[in-house]
């Protein structure tokens, strides 16, 4: 009995530690924040709001990429380890297409004044289409006949990601490059809140996240093919026994999931830059988002993206200046808290 009692009190201690880990950062950001460049939020609401917006826009990009990852996993139980490589490839294809379209001497890179809206949209579509095609080929050629062996499928996608990453290094080089936003997006807008001038590009990213989230929600919840996918998530065998072509559904899900990785790469390449190693970071982001949110759940991907986006941005902004480089630890702490409470993620459920 004493053993049980001790175990119980240990649990209480654990809960208290977890609670403190959640509550303390909030108090810190709102009221203390000593040694940071901004100071506490009550003294400096403007920078707090900017950090919040940065977190939300980062979350939107995380969501675009991770929703594709979770869609593929949810339906097919395939952990696509090549998702990060797809992200990078989509970005590179768009980059090359844009430079070809704009033409002339690119030099160190294009400036947004040289780029029209079409010269961003067409490269984006090219990147998305190529990655969607490669995703489809990978699924049909390698994954389809290994269905149900999820570790083997993960190993196959790892092999593909090694090859893709090395080939991208060969073709696009090791120097960081970026896609140029069109001039229409590249400006500041006045939000009329606390006098914030905010970059339109980040708001565009937020818009993409919301539109894609809404479209996926509508597709999965309101259309016939979406319903087939959700039915497939619950019981693959039953769906195919009812005469529905589940293989076609799988292929569609893989195309859409890969396309989202590619589109994420286009946005990411415009927002930040493309270089070797970016693929690993985005695989990490997608994995963290879906582990936090719960594999295969769209709502989970949204919550996971929000938590990750806010955590990374607030950690970078509100750590004391000498310690900003410790911000990566907060990603780990976030993951640890969620795994300690819900090993399957916030919205996860047993397969």
């Amino acid at each position: 009995m004493t053993g049980f009692a001790a175990y119980g009190s240990l649990r209480h201690v654990g809960r208290a530690v977890l609670l403190a880990l959640v509550v303390f950062p909030v108090i810190w950001v709102l009221f203390i924040a000593s040694g940071t460049s901004f100071g506490p939020a009550i003294d400096d609401p403007k920078d707090f709001l900017i950090t919040l917006l940065n977190g939300l826009t980062a979350a939107a990009l995380y969501f675009v990429v991770a929703s594709g990852f979770t869609l593929i996993f949810g339906l097919m139980r395939v952990v696509n380890m090549a998702h990060g490589a797809f992200f990078l490839l989509g970005g590179y294809i768009a980059l090359r297409t844009q430079r070809n379209m704009v033409g002339g001497d690119v030099g160190l890179g294009l400036s947004s004044a040289q780029v029209s809206l079409a010269q961003w949209v067409v490269p984006a579509l090219a990147g998305v289409a190529v990655v969607a095609g490669i995703g489809l080929i990978m699924q049909q050629l390698f994954l389809r006949w290994n269905q149900g062996q999820d570790l083997r499928q993960a190993l196959i996608t790892i092999a593909i990601s090694i090859i893709l990453a090395d080939q991208m290094l060969a073709h696009y080089g090791g120097v960081a490059q970026d896609i140029s936003w069109p001039g229409t997006f590249d400006k500041f807008v006045n939000l009329h809140v606390a006098g914030i001038q905010y970059t339109l590009t980040r708001l565009v990213i937020l818009g993409f996240g919301l539109v894609i989230g809404g479209a996926l929600w509508f597709w999965l919840k309101r259309t016939r093919s979406g319903m087939v996918i959700r039915a497939g998530v619950d019981d693959r065998d039953m769906v195919s026994a009812m005469g529905i072509n589940i293989q076609l559904t799988f292929a569609i899900a893989f195309v859409v999931g890969s396309a989202l990785a590619g589109f994420g790469g286009v946005i990411g390449g415009s927002f930040a830059s493309l270089a070797p190693g970016v693929d690993a970071n985005w695989l990490l982001n997608s994995l963290v988002v879906v582990i936090i949110g719960g594999m295969g759940s769209l709502g989970g991907a949204a919550i996971g993206s929000l938590l990750l986006g806010l955590t990374t941005n607030f950690a970078a902004a509100y750590l004391p200046s000498n310690y900003t480089y410790y911000s990566i630890i907060f990603t780990f702490v976030l993951l640890a808290i969620v795994l300690a409470v819900r090993p399957l993620g916030l919205y996860g459920r047993p397969a």
Binding site: L151, L155, A159, D166, N281, L283, I291, Y326, I328, A340
Partner: protein, 346 residues
């Protein structure tokens, strides 16, 4: 059936004896470059891969965090033993206490990683440990007080092992450690601890019903494998004299997975077999124009072919050859094993 089994056993023993004999007499047979560079590297990479294969074969846990633990040990040793002239803490400790403390730090990290991942199974476990690995890499890349992007260089090797003292000593020490690791892992697998671990691999729900603390047991197994990986990390730092975040990046993580898969994820011997193939391909690829710069494409293709053709790796191929036609193939390790979730009914 029994005759083919015994013939396989003896074939295994003969092959094993030949390998060990070749390893012991390697300095007489191969050039100094081969021994001091390639074979030493093969041995410590095999130690790390063996820690992964141990978890995978006996615990059903395919962990991608082994390289991060290897890195934690390496960085800890680097910070403790260096004395100025490099990044990091430069604590200037003596070797012996530094090794002990480095191992302890690595095991604590392994324990925390294991505790967090211990309630996840199959592919979830793989993903979570991969995240740990990438986070460890970013941590060392960003935290300049312990490493920073360029890493730690000029890490001293014990005088006794230095190349100037004797060119082959580090090789023999690494060989001895590798043999010891192999024997220890074999032994642990047969102890009650190892048998319980195998029970958990096969049916965690039943083991839990029998009163075993499944999560704790998996955590301890993970920490134990962490010791092995950390030993590999220390050997690596001695061999390389420096360690950088890129040494434990995603590509290194995948390299160790590739080694384990090429060898075969379900038998410990596969670790060193896979490491040998990896190191040799790496070495010869440098001389071939077509693939010299594209080593990872080559490794990716080899890896893909192995996964597609022989999921049990080279050891699986070996068993198929020595077993004769009648023997049933070993269970495909790449099939999902030990899933905790009860199979849904209906």
């Amino acid at each position: 059936m029994s005759s083919s089994l015994s013939s396989r056993l003896s074939a295994d023993r003969i092959a094993g004896a030949i390998f060990v004999a070749l390893a012991v007499f390697a300095p007489l047979i191969f050039s100094e470059y081969w021994v001091a560079t390639l074979l030493t590297q093969m041995l410590f990479l095999g130690v790390v891969a063996a820690s992964l294969i141990f978890l995978s074969a006996y615990g059903g846990m395919v962990s991608l965090a082994q390289v991060s633990i290897y890195g934690v040990a390496g960085f800890a040793l680097g910070n403790l033993t260096t004395n100025g002239n490099t990044k990091g803490l430069n604590l200037g400790w003596a070797e012996a206490p530094a090794i002990v403390v480095a191992l302890i730090i690595a095991v604590i990290v392994a324990f925390v990683f294991g505790a967090l991942a211990s309630r996840s199974y199959g592919i979830y476990f793989l993903m979570i440990t991969l995240v740990f690995s990438v986070i460890a890499n970013l941590f060392f890349g960003q935290v300049t007080s312990v490493s920073g992007f360029g890493g730690i260089s000029g890490i001293p090797i014990p005088d006794f092992l230095s190349r100037t003292a004797h060119p082959d000593r580090l090789y023999f020490v690494t060989l001895g450690v590798a043999l010891l690791v192999y024997a220890t892992l074999r032994y642990v697998a047969r102890t009650p601890f190892g048998l319980t671990l195998q029970g958990i691999r096969d049916d965690p729900v039943r083991m839990s019903s029998l009163g075993y603390n499944v999560a704790l047991h998996r955590t301890l197994a993970f920490a134990f494998a962490g010791v092995i990986a950390a030993i590999g990390g220390i050997l690596f730092v001695w061999w390389n004299a420096q360690i950088a975040p890129s040494t434990i990046g995603l590509s290194a993580t995948i390299d160790v997975l590739v080694i384990a898969v090429i060898g075969g994820l379900y038998r410990l011997e596969g670790a060193w077999l896979g490491a040998l193939v990896f190191v040799v391909i790496n070495n010869y690829a440098q001389d071939v124009d077509l693939v010299a710069d594209r080593f990872h494409t080559l490794i990716g293709v080899v890896f893909l072919v192995i996964v597609l053709v022989s999921p049990n790796g080279l050891i699986g191929l070996w068993e198929r050859i020595t077993a004769g036609p009648r023997r049933a193939l070993p269970m495909d390790i790449t099939q999902e094993r030990g899933s905790a979730e009860p199979t849904p009914v209906g």
